[in-house]
């Protein structure tokens, strides 16, 4: 009798365990894992604190913000000089610089406005331009190089720049202003490429950062790409624009990036005007209370 009861309990237990109801209650959804653009799990090649030495005069590879994707977004301005009201982050504006800054209605920073009131060119999907590409949405950044040039491919907007490393000098006369300027690079040492850029757009369609800091056609930008070791890169960006600022200043200082797998497929990321239009119509304008209640 007792054996029969135990057997019955075993059968009942097995039946319960295998029932769809029980499975539904106990099954845990698989935790999401990071995927690349190809839908494959991300495998970081950075394996430990002791990386191999930096290869000589080589910054090629796919780099990403070492502290996570959010570190390069820099919504409130350059990481080391945000628009946050702190005195140490006040920039040395010229009168023209201050006047231009005030004409910019940014969505972020100390003078942020509502969505519907902004005149940020990027909100219309205009190019970020340079140096804003370094100072906003700095995400996966791929470098290709040969003996004559380094090409930088930015994930955001799928933009690219050419850095000439063939010994040429910057143009004496700018043939035509460019969104991403004219750039030359020289190796300061075997692990540091110093890039100078001039000839960028100096009109109202180009902002320095996400908070509307101004730029002019007189701007010169210095980037220092220092490969600390095989797996780590630091980027420093210095702004020199005498029309807008009374002295040069450093926007980001040794911004850390780490090497990604050479097999990593960078996810497409662009501002799409038609999608942006729908976004504003169905979301942004309502949030800003510009449509009828």
């Amino acid at each position: 009798m007792r054996k029969g009861f135990v057997a019955s309990m075993i059968v009942l237990g097995a039946a319960l365990m295998s029932s769809p109801l029980t499975r539904a209650q106990t099954a845990q959804p698989a935790a999401p894992v990071a995927l690349d653009g190809w839908g494959r799990p991300v495998i970081s090649p950075v394996t430990g604190p002791k990386a191999a030495p930096a290869p000589r005069r080589d910054i090629s590879g796919i780099w990403e913000p070492a502290n996570g994707p959010g570190d390069g977004i820099q919504p409130n301005g350059p990481k080391d000089m945000p628009s946050d009201g702190k005195p140490e982050h006040d920039l040395p504006y010229t009168p023209l610089g201050l006047q231009t800054l005030k004409s910019h209605k940014a969505l972020f920073g100390t003078a942020a406005v509502l969505q519907a009131l902004t005149n940020d060119p990027a909100d219309k999907c205009d190019p970020l331009g340079f140096p804003r590409a370094d100072l906003f949405q700095l995400r996966h950044t791929q470098f290709f190089q040969n003996e004559r040039q380094v090409a930088i491919l930015y994930q955001f907007e799928k933009r690219w720049r050419t850095i000439w490393t063939d010994g040429r000098e910057l143009p004496k006369e700018i043939p035509e202003s460019r969104w991403y300027g004219y750039s030359v690079g020289k190796w300061e040492d075997d692990s540091t490429l110093v890039v100078q850029t001039i000839g960028t757009m100096g009109d109202e369609r180009a902002w320095l950062d996400n908070t509307g800091r101004p730029v002019s056609d007189a701007m010169r930008v210095e980037e220092r790409f220092h490969r600390v070791d095989r797996d780590h890169l630091e980027l420093t960006v210095k702004i020199d624009d005498p029309k807008m600022y009374t002295r040069p200043w450093v926007a980001i200082n040794k911004f850390p990036m780490k090497l990604q797998s050479p097999d990593y497929d960078v996810i497409e990321m662009m501002c799409i005007p038609s999608e942006s239009e729908k976004y504003h119509k169905e979301y942004g304008d309502v949030a800003s209370e510009t449509v009828g209640k």
């Binding site: 999401p32 969505l107 406005v113």
Partner: protein, 129 residues
């Protein structure tokens, strides 16, 4: 407007940690910063797009009226980094959404967390890699 919602303070603490700076494109001025609303609703559209995705869902208020909510996330690539995808939602999905609403009282906000029909919770923290 009396929208039926559950305010879950314990959850809000966790959600708070991933708030404002992650929304990088369209500003913070419109939002009632720090306020949290948690609602049960039915998905009507998941707009996967650049520069921002948004989720549309219907919520019944206390009187049984349907309120059409719209809540944004960041862009698609950025959401992939957080474990979301274009296939995360389909029309008719019953979900629980936590949003930070706008100040103007419209049924608009930004998504902070979603509980899917299978019980999985998706938030705004980046996945470890």
């Amino acid at each position: 407007m009396k929208v039926k919602f559950l305010t879950v303070f314990a959850l809000a603490i966790g959600v708070w940690m991933v708030s404002v700076p992650l929304f990088a494109h369209h500003g913070n001025s419109a939002f009632d910063t720090g306020k949290r609303m948690t609602m049960k609703g039915t998905v009507t559209e998941w707009f996967w797009a650049n520069p921002h995705c948004f989720l549309k869902f219907d919520v019944k208020d206390d009187s049984g009226n349907v309120v059409h909510w719209v809540a944004e996330t960041t862009n698609g690539p950025d959401m992939i980094e957080r474990g979301w995808s274009k296939q995360t939602f389909k029309g008719g999905d019953e979900i629980t959404v936590t949003v930070e609403p706008v100040k103007n009282g419209r049924p608009v906000g930004r998504v902070l967390q979603v509980v899917l029909p299978n019980g999985q919770t998706l938030g705004m923290a980046y996945l470890k890699r």
